[in-house]
Symmetry: C2
Subunit: 236 residues, 2 copies
């Protein structure tokens, strides 16, 4: 099949057009012995995870609910099953019972939470690593007993890298920049925990946020003072 | 104004309803001397950058084109201007001419590229740090002469962190995991460059991708062999 190069570049638009004229096929059947890792969601996030696993020679089963996405990534040589990862039969056929790890890389919040719930309930011993779109998604995954260290907010680390470069470009000294970013990261993870505890109460959420910002500034200033305090002069 | 806690949690839906009944006001006027950093886009990404800058005591001017988003984040004590960062008058009033840094954190690809073009053309000496949604967005920013080290793919680092944890959980040894992730990162950055060069040619893009995957596996295997080669036995 010939596709004009430009239509590759704008593949999202292409997919929309396909969506209109292509009738989605039946879901795929997953056969065979199963793999140690199951990846649910084969968009930008799941693809990075799968490429790292492939490099390391770790076999995985990838499941994606959008047929258009499956069709697209298959053209790049990827082996992906088309299906809804929240369906128990599909998880059974992917041998979730014998798997070592479930990577939840679905971007849609509802589909992600639904899948997490099904996996938790039916395969309580299968560890989950999850992608969270935002705070609310993060909280809902926590509600399903997924530990905070196992959930990554999808843009958190990249935005922190931009922040790091911003500090450098505004003239902050390199070691100071590293401390600032580490401090922020640590502090923000604590804040996520505190806010998880009061997530039902908007007034408290706003209060915690304001307090945290003020606190963080103080902590950073104290840190700067300490690290730049004058070194005792040496006598010659 | 009282808002039920739940409506906070589902604030995206709330915003949609607001959108229907709230008429957007005129754009804000930006007055004053201007700040060293301008942040365009005050969603999830721009907010993290701004919180780090605030912690470090670096003043910034944040601009956001969605009034609903502005209204929402203001309730948390943030100072954000409502406006379209691709409008030259607005950039002038934010004193872009005297700024040290422009952070392009807009998530919408078209709005982001448009803003980048206006900033590049009118303030050629103003450094830009940019968020890219995906490869295509990344390529278009590169086309505007934004260096690759100044562009972050928004989910790249978080997905790499999930991959890192996945390697650990499947039993790979910690130092090996660190090497694997570093190797992948370095390799993927090179791949982005190679693919940028052939971005108009789908056949070549598919070829480069397949080659890269095979290469990466080889490089990793060689790396593993080297690091686990038997240490010469010592004579007693």
């Amino acid at each position: 099949m010939f596709l004009a190069p430009l239509s590759f570049i704008v593949h999202e638009r292409l997919l929309e057009r396909w969506l209109e004229r292509t009738k989605a096929p039946e879901f795929d059947l997953i056969e065979g012995r199963g793999n140690p890792v199951i990846i649910a969601g084969y968009g930008r996030y799941g693809q990075i995870v799968s490429r790292v696993l492939r490099m390391a020679g770790i076999p995985f089963t990838a499941i994606e609910a959008s047929f258009q996405q499956v069709d697209f990534v298959r053209r790049f040589g990827n082996k992906v099953y088309y299906g809804d990862a929240s369906r128990l039969e599909l998880l059974e056929s992917a041998r979730a019972r014998d798997a070592k790890l479930f990577v939840l890389a679905i971007d849609d919040v509802e589909a992600s939470v639904k899948t997490a719930a099904v996996v938790r309930k039916n395969f309580p011993n299968l560890p989950i690593l999850a992608r969270a779109r935002n705070r609310v998604h993060y909280y809902r995954l926590r509600d399903l007993d997924i530990g905070r260290e196992a959930i990554e907010r999808e843009i958190f680390l990249s935005s922190l890298e931009t922040a790091r470069q911003a500090l450098e470009l505004t003239g902050m000294e390199a070691t100071q920049v590293a401390r600032a970013v580490a401090l922020f990261k640590e502090h923000d993870e604590k804040l996520m925990d505190e806010q998880y505890a009061v997530r039902q109460d908007e007034t408290q959420l706003i209060q915690t946020t304001a307090q945290a910002a003020a606190q963080l500034q103080e902590v950073f200033e104290a840190d700067v003072k300490e690290s730049t305090s004058p070194v005792p002069a040496r006598d010659g």
